[in-house]
Symmetry: C2
Subunit: 229 residues, 2 copies
Amino acid sequence: MTQTRTRRSRDPAATREVILEAARALLAKDGPEGISLSEVATLAGVNRGTAYQHFETREKLIAATAEWVSDRMFRAVFGDPETIGERRVEQVDIADTTDRLAIFAMENPELCRIWLLQLLASPDPMADPFWREYEGSLQRFAETDLAEDGIDVEVLSVMMLSGAFLWPVWAQSHGRPDQERRDLARRVAQESLRLCMYGSMRADRFPGIADRLRKGLTPTAPSSSPKKE
Amino acid sequence: MTQTRTRRSRDPAATREVILEAARALLAKDGPEGISLSEVATLAGVNRGTAYQHFETREKLIAATAEWVSDRMFRAVFGDPETIGERRVEQVDIADTTDRLAIFAMENPELCRIWLLQLLASPDPMADPFWREYEGSLQRFAETDLAEDGIDVEVLSVMMLSGAFLWPVWAQSHGRPDQERRDLARRVAQESLRLCMYGSMRADRFPGIADRLRKGLTPTAPSSSPKKE
DNA sequence: CTAATGGACAACACTGATGTTGATTTATGC
DNA sequence: GCATAAATCAACATCAGTGTTGTCCATTAG
């Protein structure tokens, strides 16, 4: 327990970053409920009191971390939140978005874990700005004539997002080295697109299901009426 | 602090069940790292010492709960684990499986949460028997001539499972009453099948992507060579 | 009816996390 | 250069959770 005799050079912004970084590491490991401010401070090499100075409470630290993560995802997939309103609907390229999502997910599995854990812990997952933007972009796409009819945007966005984010969690457990990450990312993007474009079953071999799908297009909730708050 | 003067009637099996039930409730709320044996015991209306008698340690209680959940999911979707070997491949009906999965998920959102949290916490998600069986059944299906070529079974199973399990988490946040659960379940099943059978984009409008998909069929990992351990 | 088994329980010591306070040091402005 | 404000840190009291131990009592076998 050789104490760091040297007092930390004073740099509030940097200290805050160090703490947030440590928080992310632990959050990815244990989830929101498993994180302790003591641990975070220790890992960050900062006194616990200092951490309390930057983040009044444990909850606020977690919230700040979650916000950081969500913002980073947003930027990686959709670009700058400031300019997003200016872009045209036609510019929302599903393939591009899918690629960026897949690549980002594979390169930041810890952030995916944090995001998913945060989502699972949140009382209102839909509040997340990244989620909203994703579902919104899918919605806008679905309303163009480039999309098939009968897309259930809500369900589809859940499947795409959860798949993309859970995939690295799963894949990493295979113990793949970093070099394969790109391939793994390509596989998700590939499969997502394949699902979107062609599907995997031979429709002619399943007339019953084909019927059911044709009849039951958007059974209850109209997928084309997005609910705004 | 009006103590329950009446001592609990002695019934080990029932007590164990009560504890497990409480553990599930708290596990669904806070996740594996957020659960405390004290809380569990209190919620179960059982002395903490009693809980320790049934589950030597906090970890073992969590493990027991996870096992319980996984087993229940397995039975709900695939039936009795004992007889599963006897069934024929042709009997694995993708539509049926999808339906059962969707319905079970919507009716047991807490179990979904537990399962996902457990998965995220696990160092080896693939070890889960339910997961293995699902991926296995998809794999077997993909090898029949009923399936399209180029299915990436690993990715597809991640997307389907994560989607099905995250959907109720998300949908519940809308505060939907129980009566709508069936509809919500139908929507996932519907969308899953729709994705599998038809896809959502007009392939003829995206020649570039169509090309990419045709060229890049299973870019690196051959989807038809399942890796056994 | 009695004794033995073991499930349910209360009490204890210990550890670790929380949030607070006040001292110490270091930027920064005048 | 000095004073002021602010950031870092150590120490404190408090509280909650853990795992253990020993007692009590319901069941059941003899």
